[in-house]
């Protein structure tokens, strides 16, 4: 195994580590959407026999982790290192899940880009030989996130038409050597880009510049063109953020019409109602990436996918102090599992 750095932000793996197994779980609204067949477990309600929504989010993480382990035929003690994050202060669900798993743990936060941050670090660890098996995990829960970032859940405020709905979902990916559902060929670590957007409901506009910056950097540093990918997937730009990102890519000289672009937050809530401009949250890229996309890669329906999780580094305190919302986007290039297919 080896790693090569290419350009400022990109690392490539000549002998790519594999995603041995992935799992996705989600809440009722997501479970009623078009991707329901690709979710390993759907919770019928936003809370169940747990004391709090936070505990429900932790339960979702544990479910995703145990499903991924079971699919790969591994035990918690086989995890050499565990990378996880979520949207809560002090990333408590991830800490408690790590307590359950008992594996060496690095807690992460890059808002909704956390799923790809975790996957990137897991891939780097496996490719460097530092770990045989690394578990990457991220989650979000609409009831824990809304209270964290905006108003109480039941507060009767009218959200603008460009607001997004935080996904209740978790996804886990087990990275290791050998054959799996997909191979991790390269990754581009995002820079923090601040377009000076301040409206906490305008997440798409805040994150689109980071997405465009990372995609352009990835293509430039690897000498690739958009058409080298079957699909370039953003995390949670939403309807408006996707439209904005298309124009920003054009300004960077990337021909977005050359391949398919899609958004995890839009895919996850396709066919679901009352989500305004689409889904958001760590759960979007985690559940869609480690569920839907991984299955398409394994089946050969997709061959090469660039999975770009977008995160708005929003803090309610900073926002009230009249600070803008910086954003980040991490990209991971995935190839279908069997190189000889």
């Amino acid at each position: 195994m080896s790693i090569e750095k290419q350009g400022r932000q990109t690392w490539v793996f000549p002998a790519p580590p594999a995603i041995l197994a992935g799992a996705a779980v989600a809440g009722p609204k997501e479970g009623g959407g078009a991707l329901r067949a690709d979710l390993d477990h759907i919770y019928p309600a936003l809370s169940w026999d747990k004391k709090s929504f936070e505990q429900c989010e932790q339960a979702m993480q544990e479910k995703a982790a145990s499903l991924a382990l079971a699919k790969a035929g591994l035990q918690p003690q086989d995890i050499d290192i565990f990378f996880a994050g979520d949207l809560l202060n002090q990333i408590t669900p991830s800490g408690f899940t790590a307590r359950q798993l008992g594996a060496p743990f690095f807690g992460l936060f890059s808002a909704c880009a956390t799923a790809m941050e975790a996957l990137s670090l897991a891939a780097l660890c496996v490719a460097s030989g530092a770990a045989r098996h690394a578990l990457a995990l991220a989650s979000s829960h609409t009831c824990t996130a809304e209270r964290q970032f905006r108003y109480p859940n039941e507060y009767g405020s009218q959200k603008p038409p460009y607001a997004q709905h935080t996904a209740t979902a978790a996804g886990a990916a087990l990275v290791g050597e050998g054959q799996g559902a997909a191979r991790i060929c390269a990754l581009t670590v995002g820079r923090v880009i601040d377009a000076q957007v301040c409206d906490p409901f305008q997440m798409g506009a805040a994150m689109a510049p980071a997405f465009a910056d990372t995609v352009a950097a990835h293509l430039r540093e690897l000498g690739l063109r958009p058409e080298n990918y079957d699909l370039i997937l953003s995390g949670d730009l939403g309807r408006d953020g996707c439209a904005i990102a298309g124009q920003l890519l054009a300004r960077q000289g990337v021909d977005a019409s050359a391949t398919h672009f899609a958004d995890c937050g839009l895919l996850l809530f396709q066919g679901a109602d009352e989500v305004l401009a689409g889904g958001s949250g760590c759960g979007c890229a985690a559940a869609v990436g480690f569920g839907h996309i991984l299955r398409r890669l394994a089946s050969g329906e997709l061959r090469r996918v660039l999975l770009c999780a977008t995160g708005a580094l929003l803090s309610p305190v900073a926002n009230q102090q009249k600070e803008s919302i910086p954003a980040i986007c991490h990209a991971v290039a995935l190839e279908g599992g069997n190189p000889h297919a």
């Binding site: 009767g156 009218q158 038409p161 377009a195 000076q196 798409g204 506009a205």
Partner: protein
Amino acid sequence: MTKKPQPERWYQEIIKANTPPKQVFRNSLTAFFSGGLFCALAETARLLLIRLAGLPEQTAAAWVTVGAIALAALLTGCGVYDRAAQKLGAGLAVPISGFANSVAASMLEHKYEGMVLGSGCNSFKLAGAVIVFGCASAFAVTLLAMLLGLL
């Protein structure tokens, strides 16, 4: 007060072109009629209490107020209020029910953190500002009125 930063002009234009505008006129109209309807219903209830139940005017008004608070809190707990507010907007923010919703929602949100430190401490998280500035401005206006000899 410091000003919030703004995106560069060219980016503001891209955002504007790709973001649906807030339906200010439609929202105002919906709020005007739905808010008006609720107030008319409350007034009807007050008149019924006076005419049919024979309550004194002040007592009837108090009962209607209490009823509106209870109903708003109940609908908040059932998860109906926030959905209705997404459609009706400021129509549901009419003083009494909107205030009751903000208190009930805050208390519900923090019930897991305990009765006192959770629900109790956070009950006026949103409504507190209304009380503080309401009292302060009432004091200021009254003082002004007294100085001008109006009271």
